[in-house]
Amino acid sequence: MRRNRQGSVLIFALLFTVLTTLIGLSLIGMKKGHYSAAQLAVRAEQARLLAHAGVNDAIAKLQKDPFFPSGVGDAQTYFSYKEPLKLGDSEELLGYYQVTVDQVRRDEEGVVTIRSVGQTAFSGETSARHATYVEVSMRPGNFGVILWKEGQPPR
């Protein structure tokens, strides 16, 4: 009987090792998932801020130049531009914003709509996108945002 039990501790130790490794790996996998979700939340927030930067850029341009985005006498009503954003003086690209200015209702109603899409640009990582829709009153003496909506324009 004693001969048959030889090495049983070693087998038990090996089984225990396999079991604890499996438990440890699954725990690490769970935490890794949580960590990735937290990182994605940061990307989403950065995309949102990029979209806001685009909106603020368009509002500043509208405020400074009464003819922005068209030239004098230009009949074009729909404009789009895209600008990259870099971190300080470095060449590191933070992301882009794409702004679309629609001034179909500018002459009649005095309202210009702006749609800005922000997108993060990190190499090797998942990028995030966020859209912001804004209506701006262009009426004389009443310049300002009348509606600010995150996501798609209201239907």
């Binding site: 501790v9 927030e45 209702r105």
Partner: protein, 162 residues
């Protein structure tokens, strides 16, 4: 005669080495996990504060009228659920085009209530330890604190009012 017990000295040493390796690997994994957990807790906390700030600022941007008191903020502005065409037809400042958003701090919860002429929606936003509003001209200082894992953190943000 050499093997008296269930296993030899070499087997015992081998088992001890495996055990020590497993224990050190577990200790290392646990230390890493606790670091990640702590980082995530702190980070999650700040993210919630940022989201709440964004939410209040978005409502403030839409507002054409505001009233602030110690524990509440009320914004009246365009109803973002209605299209521009519908609102222009009704008249931009007509009651059908406007929505009222009210923030209230009640029994540890911050509630956001949105009312239009058709419906009223009230929902808890975050569980907070405190929520205070201090109006100073066209600026409102919003202070709020949150308590998690026996740790209280206070955040302060300035909101531009119409």
């Amino acid at each position: 005669m050499k093997r008296r017990g269930g296993f030899t000295i070499i087997e015992a040493l081998f088992t001890m080495v495996i055990f020590s390796l497993v224990l050190s690997a577990l200790a290392y994994s646990l230390s890493m996990l606790s670091r990640v957990s702590l980082a995530r807790k702190d980070f999650g906390f700040e993210l919630e504060a940022l989201q709440l700030t964004q939410l209040i600022r978005d409502d403030a941007r839409n507002a054409s009228q505001v009233s602030a008191s110690a524990g509440s903020l009320v914004f009246v502005g365009q109803d973002g659920e209605k299209s521009l065409t519908e609102r222009l037809e009704a008249g931009l400042s007509a009651p059908g085009s406007m929505a009222t958003v009210r923030y209230e701090f009640v029994e540890g919860w911050l509630y956001r209530t949105k009312s239009t002429d058709l419906k009223t929606e009230r929902a808890p936003v975050y569980q907070l330890a405190s929520f205070e509003v201090e109006q100073n001209g066209r600026l409102a200082k919003v202070k709020f604190s949150s308590e998690k894992s026996n740790k209280t953190e206070t955040f302060e943000t300035v909101v531009q009012l119409p």
